[in-house]
Each structure stands twice: as structure tokens, then as C-alpha cells.
């Protein structure tokens, strides 16, 4: 008889993983109880309905566009053949290395009335030449969607590559063309991964402050900041943050519905690679034009603008400090990636062998942080650690701080915020390992440890790589948690971007921004290499 895997251990471990976020949540709730009634009444009357509507429009718009771009581009590069396909299959990931706030300030600086593009257009066609305002709802949605579609692209492409071969065969045998194949077979099969990618985009959008504030687009997050910075009431700000969590819960329910009830487990490995569907002539070039446009807007043009500004200021601003900024940025991102990956594996394993209310609740809590503005999380982290430090001091004595202002505090914040990013791909990876395979392994007498090390980890391969590298790139771009919890001397590239943009010196911010993009290309290249290898293996 096969020994059933222990359920208790994994469930307890899942709870342990949720503890950091739980501590942060408790601190937030505690703070929120002190909210000011008069301020709250003011917000209800003059602020809330507008920012709720704004936030809904933004999230729906960004998710719709990012999902459309990500899914269609993934389908084109995974299942079709067109000029430049091999290049675009990795190049379309590169916009991930450009932080949304950087894309936003580049867009506004070049496309607003006084920017280079409208100015040039007016000089050619006269002063009356109408240019649609970039600082608008449409502009905000476009920029956030361009910055976040790679999440969907990455997840969708993984799914299409796994299913791709047989999907196309099935579709063709039913007499369906490539687009009918996409909508009627591939997308339904890839639903869990598409929904996972879309959920990441939605949460990222809800938590964004950097990009929306460049556009002066008021969302829930900007209202939180205003309550804190302007009304001087951190407590009221935290109450707003709790209300935001209600939105998040709704979004998560929506994701569950989108995922569907089916339990997906995929694909035997070792299926022969399918023929890609050739897009001949004009259709091939249309695909090329589409991919090239997205790539240009999301990466090439912003990178050129950044490089030009960076070149102008490099003489004053570029010094040996940058070696430290880059090393610390990469080091912190690497540590956070490894930590999030380890914890995501624990959660993923627990959900597999001990699926139930406890594990599911623990997973939900542990991954909530991605939808909470980084600054709110940071307040939670410093408050929670402040309480612990005080306890330490009464026990151990001493003058200084134990946990606050250490790299540990920083990592705690990163884990609370980015665990969700690692969780999705790892869970997707687990879902692709057939339960029957595991049952067979256990019936052969393999212990839990052997099942994990000899079956799960090797088969998780793709999911693990995606998870680690997504966190890595996200941490490189992270700003508010880094600012508020970093120890002395731990300035990163994002900190430098903040200091320049806060002074309205966007040109000078281009240098550290460009450094983030260039340093971010390294993990994106790794990710690409992994995808190509997975594609070859399939």
C-alpha cells in the first residue's frame, strides 16, 4: 500500500508562511482602528466614490488590454510562424525590465503638450494640430497595460507551449483555423494560467502609485497617500487600505471563477514538437507589424529616450557609487527571489497534499500583499517589527534596534509583497504534474522527501524558474518598501530614481532608470533562455 502523504505538517508549514503577511495585516488593522471620524466622513462625501470608480475603470481597462496583448502575442510566437518570430518570442518579454513609473514619466515627458513629439508635430502642421492628451484615463491605461502585459504573455506562452502541439492538431483535425483554434481550444485549456497572469496584472495595477501619480490619475492608492501625507492621518490611510483589500478579495473571487472548476493537469512530457502554423504573406507581415509595434512602444522607444537623457547627465551624476547601487539592487533582488521561491514551494506543496480550508486560507493571506500599495505594507512592517523590537529590548536590554533598519526587515517586506508573484507559477507547475504519476511513485514506496526531490522539483522546472525571475525583476523595480525599511548605506537604483523624480528632475532620473532596465535584462535573458529550452524540450 502506498503511504498517504502527511497532511498535518504541510498545513502547519503553510500557516507559518502566511505569518509575515499576517503580522503586517494585524499591524494595519490595529492602526486603522484609530481612524479619524471627521476625516472619514469627508472622504466618504468628497473622495471615495470618485476613486472607486476611477480604480475600477483603470483595473478593468489595464487587465483587458494586457490580457489581449499578452495572450495574442503568446499565441503568435508559440503556435504560428511569421517573420521575426524567433526574435519576438524573447524580445516581447523585455518591457518587463522597464518599471511602470519609468514608462509613465517617459511617456508624459515626450508626449505631453510641451514634450518633443507634440512640439514637433505642431511645428510641422501648425499650432492647432490636435494631439490627444497623454495625461488622461486612456493614456494611464495604455502605459500600465504596456508595462504589465509581459506577465500574461509569460504565463500564456508557457501554457501554449505545453499544450500547443496537441491543441493545434486537435484544432486542425476539427477543421479549425489558427484563430478559431486559439479561441475554441487553446484559450480554454490555458485558462488557469491566463487567469493567473491577469490576476497579477490586476493586483499590480491596484497597488501602483508611481505610475498613476505621474499622470495625476486619482485611484484608491493615491487617496491612501493623500490621507497620510496631506491629512496627516496614517490611521485613516490604513482604513482606506483595508477597504482596498475588499476589492482585492472580489478580484480573487473573479479569478477563481475565471480559472474554472476543472482540475487541470497536463500533458505527458516528450510529445514531439508540433509544426507551427505558417502565416503566409501579408498575414505574416501583419503579425510582424503588431509584435514590432508593441515591442517598440514598450521597450525600444522608452529605452532610446532614457539613453538620450542619461547620456546628458552621466557626466555629472555617474560615479563609482553606481557599482554599489547595482550590486545591492541585484543582491537584494536575488535574496528576495530565493526567499519567495522557497516559501512558494512550501505553499504549493501544501496545497497539493493538504488541500483544505486551512491551507487555502493560509495561501490567500500569504499572497494578499501584491495588491497592497508598497507604502502601506512598509508601514505594517515597521510597526510590526517595532513591537517586536520593544519586546526584545525589555528582555535583552540594549539601546538599539534589533530588526528594524536591517536587511531582514527589507526582506520581510519583499516577501509580504511579492510572494504572490512566485506563488502563481509554482502552483501552475504543480498543476501540470499528474496526480496519477505521484500516486504511482508513492505506490512504489517513495517517501515524501523522495517524491518532492525526484518527482516534483524536476517536473516543476519551468514554474520554478519563472517564479524566481519574476520576483527578481519586481524587486529590482520596487520603491516604497525599499525606501522606508532600508538600512543605512543600502541605497539601490530605485532609491536614486525616487530622489530625482521627487524633485521633478526626470532627465536626471533617466540614468538610474536605465541602469534598472539594463540590470533587469540579465534575468529576463535567463527567463528567455529557459523558455527556449522548454520549447525545444517539448
Amino acid at each position: 500500500m502506498a503511504a498517504a502523504p502527511s497532511r498535518l505538517g504541510p498545513a502547519v508549514a503553510a500557516i507559518a508562511v502566511a505569518l509575515p503577511m499576517l503580522a503586517v495585516l494585524v499591524a494595519v488593522v490595529q492602526g486603522a482602528t484609530g481612524a479619524d471620524a471627521e476625516l472619514w466622513a469627508h472622504l466618504r462625501e468628497h473622495v471615495l466614490s470618485r476613486v472607486v470608480a476611477n480604480t475600477l475603470i483603470l483595473v478593468l481597462g489595464v487587465v483587458a488590454i494586457a490580457a489581449t496583448l499578452g495572450t495574442s502575442l503568446a499565441w503568435l510566437t508559440a503556435a504560428c510562424e511569421f517573420p521575426g518570430r524567433a526574435f519576438f518570442s524573447w524580445a516581447l518579454l523585455l518591457p518587463m525590465a522597464v518599471p511602470a513609473y519609468v514608462l509613465a514619466f517617459v511617456a508624459v515627458a515626450t508626449l505631453d503638450y510641451a514634450g518633443a513629439v507634440p512640439t514637433t508635430l505642431r511645428s510641422w502642421f501648425g499650432d492647432g494640430f490636435p494631439v490627444p492628451p497623454i495625461r488622461s484615463t486612456g493614456g494611464t491605461i495604455a502605459v500600465l497595460a504596456l508595462a504589465s502585459y509581459p506577465y500574461v504573455y509569460l504565463m500564456a506562452r508557457g501554457a501554449f507551449l505545453t499544450h500547443g502541439a496537441r491543441v493545434l492538431e486537435a484544432a486542425q483535425s476539427l477543421g479549425l483555423g489558427p484563430w478559431a483554434g486559439l479561441f475554441r481550444v487553446a484559450v480554454p485549456l490555458a485558462r488557469p494560467w491566463l487567469a493567473g497572469g491577469a490576476a497579477l496584472v490586476a493586483m499590480e495595477t491596484l497597488a501602483d502609485f508611481g505610475a498613476v501619480s505621474v499622470f495625476n490619475y486619482d485611484t484608491f492608492t493615491t487617496a491612501i497617500y493623500k490621507a497620510w501625507f496631506g491629512l496627516f492621518s496614517i490611521e485613516t490611510a490604513l482604513l482606506l487600505a483595508l477597504l482596498l483589500l475588499v476589492f482585492v478579495a472580489l478580484a480573487l473571487v473573479a479569478e477563481r471563477i475565471a480559472r474554472g472548476r476543472a482540475r487541470f493537469s497536463a500533458a505527458d512530457s516528450g510529445v514531439r514538437a508540433a509544426e507551427r502554423l505558417a502565416l503566409p504573406g501579408a498575414r505574416g507581415w501583419a503579425a510582424f507589424g503588431y509584435a514590432a509595434t508593441v515591442f517598440a512602444l514598450g521597450f525600444v522607444l522608452p529605452a532610446i529616450a532614457l539613453a538620450r537623457w542619461a547620456w546628458d547627465v552621466a557626466a555629472i551624476d555617474l560615479d563609482s557609487h553606481y557599482v554599489g547601487y547595482i550590486l545591492r539592487t541585484l543582491g537584494l533582488a536575488g535574496m528576495a527571489a530565493l526567499a519567495c521561491l522557497g516559501l512558494a514551494l512550501v505553499l504549493g506543496y501544501a496545497s497539493r497534499v493538504a488541500d483544505g480550508v486551512v491551507t487555502r486560507t493560509a495561501s490567500r493571506i500569504a499572497t494578499l500583499g501584491y495588491a497592497i500599495p508598497g507604502a502601506v505594507l512598509a508601514v505594517g512592517v515597521v510597526s510590526a517589527l517595532g513591537a517586536i523590537d520593544l519586546r526584545f529590548r525589555t528582555i535583552a536590554g540594549g539601546e538599539g534596534l534589533w530588526l528594524q533598519g536591517t536587511v531582514f526587515a527589507l526582506l520581510l517586506g519583499y516577501v509580504a509583497r511579492f510572494l504572490a508573484v512566485a506563488h502563481g507559477p509554482v502552483l501552475g507547475g504543480f498543476a501540470r504534474i499528474r496526480l496519477s504519476l505521484e500516486e504511482a511513485a508513492r505506490s512504489l514506496g517513495l517517501s515524501t522527501r523522495e517524491v518532492v526531490s525526484r518527482l516534483h522539483l524536476p517536473l516543476l522546472g519551468a514554474g520554478i524558474g519563472t517564479a524566481a525571475l519574476l520576483v527578481f525583476v519586481d524587486v529590482m523595480k520596487e520603491m516604497p518598501i525599499t525606501l522606508m525599511t532600508r538600512p543605512f548605506g543600502w541605497d539601490t537604483l530605485a532609491v536614486r530614481v525616487f530622489e530625482m523624480t521627487a524633485e521633478g528632475e526626470w532627465e536626471r532620473a533617466a540614468l538610474p532608470s536605465l541602469a534598472i532596465v539594463v540590470a533587469g535584462l540579465l534575468p529576463v535573458a535567463l527567463l528567455t533562455w529557459r523558455m527556449e529550452r522548454a520549447a525545444r524540450a517539448a
Partner: protein, 340 residues
């Protein structure tokens, strides 16, 4: 895949080790001085290091916005390593004082150097640089004789010609707070609504964009902190925007400060006071303000020639600390008036 993880681990280890080595400063003899600064790195770091070298100590600093730094100080409580808090807004200094995070300092040197309206009467904080917020106008489309007060920007003649920065910007909130103090809530709200009705474009996220919009012809007048224009004029001679000093026949132009105070739990209090006194001294005052085209807080010190070229002005002499008290009322007024 294990290859990838191993690679990532190794990369991380190398970066962390060299990163830490890169971060550790040269050894210094005395107790370090720790500064939490909302005045950004590029404006202060050089002076901080110079002070440290002169005193044979290490000056450690972190930067962030004022509100998060205040929150960090609050969470750290008595265990905080910080000795000095530097802000770029009088409201933040007022709030830090209210929260009990700053301690009063009695220093004849500081009291002599810094005028009374730019420091806390009890000595919790002292202004170190003055930032004036006033009217900027297009030299191509506006005559200075058309301009007078902040309130007059709501006149019909500026319909579709006015640009404003976002109402979320602290500098606008402190301007409105001052106006509430001078004119009361109702009059101020009427003025703000008249401005909003005159807007030529959605409010901007920073003063630099606003000034560029005036130069490009999107609008003709706006309200800005003068140092943003200083930077642009420095980069581009003949930048077609000029400063007009508002309310000179009334209470004077609105000023805010970048200033600092000694924290309540400073471990190195004597050094912290000495540091503030050094920052208030004439030569350092000149450089502290000049790096950002601001006005020195020390009345005996001249600003940069570029800054002097904007002419003399009468500042509103109300104590800048009162801004903090009125700021949340100002923010609520801004919300009601629909100033995005």
C-alpha cells in the same frame, strides 16, 4: 533548473558581499551622526560628508518622503538611531513636533541666524532654506502689470490660461493653508474654485512640467516654487518664463521652508545641535540654498545671482509652523473644490 537556482544563489552571494563591502564607509573616530532627510540625496550628501570629515565622525543618512520618515521615527520610538530630522516642508516639521518626535533646542547661534517666522518658537525645528511659491508667467504673452495677487488668477481674463500643479502636492496644500489663515475658509474656497474654472489643462504632477507648459504655450500663468524655474533658466538661457512676486501690496508672498530639528531620542544630541548650527552658518547657508536655487534662511546671506535677479520680495511673515495646523483643513478644501 537547479542550474538556474544555483546560478541565482551564487550571483546573489557575490552581489551581497561586494555590495556590503561597497557600503561600509571609512572608519571614523567619534560617535556617528544619524540624519533622516526628506531633502534629497543630491542636495545634501556632499555637505553631510564634508561635515563628517571636518568633525572626524561618520554622518549616516537615509532619505525618503517626510511622512514615511516620520512613521519610521514613530515605529522606532526610543530605540531610534536618528539624531536629526530634515524636512522639505514646514507642515512635516509641525507634525513631527506634534507627534513628540523632536526635542526643543536652545541655541543662541540658531536664534540669531534664523528669522523668527522661519523657526519654531520653542526650538523644535529651524528653517534652513526658504522656498517661495509665487506666480510664473510667459514673457511672450503676459505683461507683469497684468498680475497682482494669487486671488486675481481667478479673474475672467485668465480663463483657459492658468496652469496649476496637482492639489496633492504639499506645496499647494501649504499655500492654501496660508490663504485659509489669512482669509478664512469661505473666501479661500471661492478663490480656489475660480482658479479651477480658469485651468488650461489638467493639473500637472510637478512644477517643472508646468513651467515647460507655459514656455510651450499651453498656458500663460501658473503658480510654482521659484527654484524649479531657477534650474530651467540655468539649463536654458532665455527660457521664456519669469517670476512675479504675488501679494506684495497685501500680506506678502507665500514661503515654505526646508528645515531640521533634533530628534527626541537623539543619541548624539550635542553633535546634532552643532550640526544644525553649522548648517545655519553663513558660508554653508549660501551653499545649502545655492545647490537648489533656493533662498538662504539666514537673513544675512545672499542667494545666487540668478536668484537675486528675480528681485526683492516681501514674504508673508506668518510663522511657517502654522501651516501644519491648517493643512488638513486645506486638503479637505482642495477636495471639495475639485482640485485634482
Amino acid at each position: 533548473m537547479s542550474v538556474l537556482i544555483a546560478l541565482l544563489s551564487r550571483l546573489t552571494a557575490v552581489c551581497m558581499l561586494t555590495g556590503i563591502a561597497w557600503a561600509s564607509p571609512a572608519l571614523a573616530a567619534g560617535e556617528p551622526l544619524v540624519v533622516y532627510s526628506a531633502r534629497k540625496y543630491q542636495l545634501v550628501e556632499q555637505l553631510f560628508q564634508e561635515y563628517g570629515r571636518g568633525r572626524g565622525i561618520e554622518v549616516k543618512s537615509v532619505t525618503d518622503d517626510g511622512a514615511p520618515l516620520i512613521q519610521r521615527l514613530t515605529a522606532e520610538g526610543a530605540m531610534s538611531p536618528a539624531d536629526v530630522f530634515i524636512s522639505v516642508d514646514a507642515g512635516d516639521l509641525w507634525r513631527a513636533t506634534e507627534a513628540g518626535l523632536l526635542s526643543p533646542v536652545k541655541s543662541p547661534i540658531l536664534e540669531r541666524a534664523i528669522p523668527a517666522h522661519l523657526r519654531d518658537p520653542a526650538g523644535h525645528w529651524f528653517g534652513l532654506a526658504v522656498r517661495a511659491r509665487t506666480i510664473a508667467y510667459s514673457t511672450e504673452r503676459v505683461k507683469p502689470s497684468e498680475l497682482s495677487t494669487y486671488a486675481a488668477l481667478g479673474d475672467a481674463r485668465w480663463k483657459g490660461r492658468l496652469c496649476l500643479r496637482s492639489g496633492k502636492a504639499v506645496y499647494n496644500q501649504s499655500l492654501v493653508a496660508m490663504m485659509i489663515g489669512d482669509n478664512g475658509v469661505e473666501t479661500t474656497e471661492r478663490i480656489i474654485r475660480s482658479w479651477i474654472a480658469n485651468l488650461a489643462a489638467e493639473p500637472f504632477t510637478n512644477d517643472t512640467l508646468l513651467l515647460k507648459a507655459i514656455a510651450a504655450g499651453q498656458c500663460d500663468v501658473g503658480i510654482v516654487n521659484t527654484y524649479y524655474l531657477g534650474r530651467l533658466q540655468h539649463e536654458q538661457a532665455g527660457f521664456p518664463v519669469q517670476i512675479f512676486w504675488a501679494d506684495q501690496k497685501g500680506r506678502g508672498t507665500h514661503v515654505n521652508i526646508s528645515g531640521g530639528g533634533v530628534t527626541a531620542h537623539a543619541k548624539n544630541r550635542a553633535e546634532a545641535i552643532h550640526f544644525l548650527e553649522w548648517l545655519a552658518s553663513p558660508e554653508i547657508q549660501q551653499r545649502f540654498a545655492a545647490v537648489n536655487f533656493e533662498f538662504p534662511a539666514n537673513a544675512g546671506v545672499e542667494p545666487l545671482p540668478e536668484v537675486k535677479a528675480w528681485g526683492k520680495f516681501e514674504p508673508n511673515l506668518v510663522n511657517v509652523g502654522t501651516i501644519g495646523k491648517t493643512q488638513s483643513a486645506a486638503v479637505m478644501l482642495i477636495d471639495r473644490a475639485g482640485w485634482r
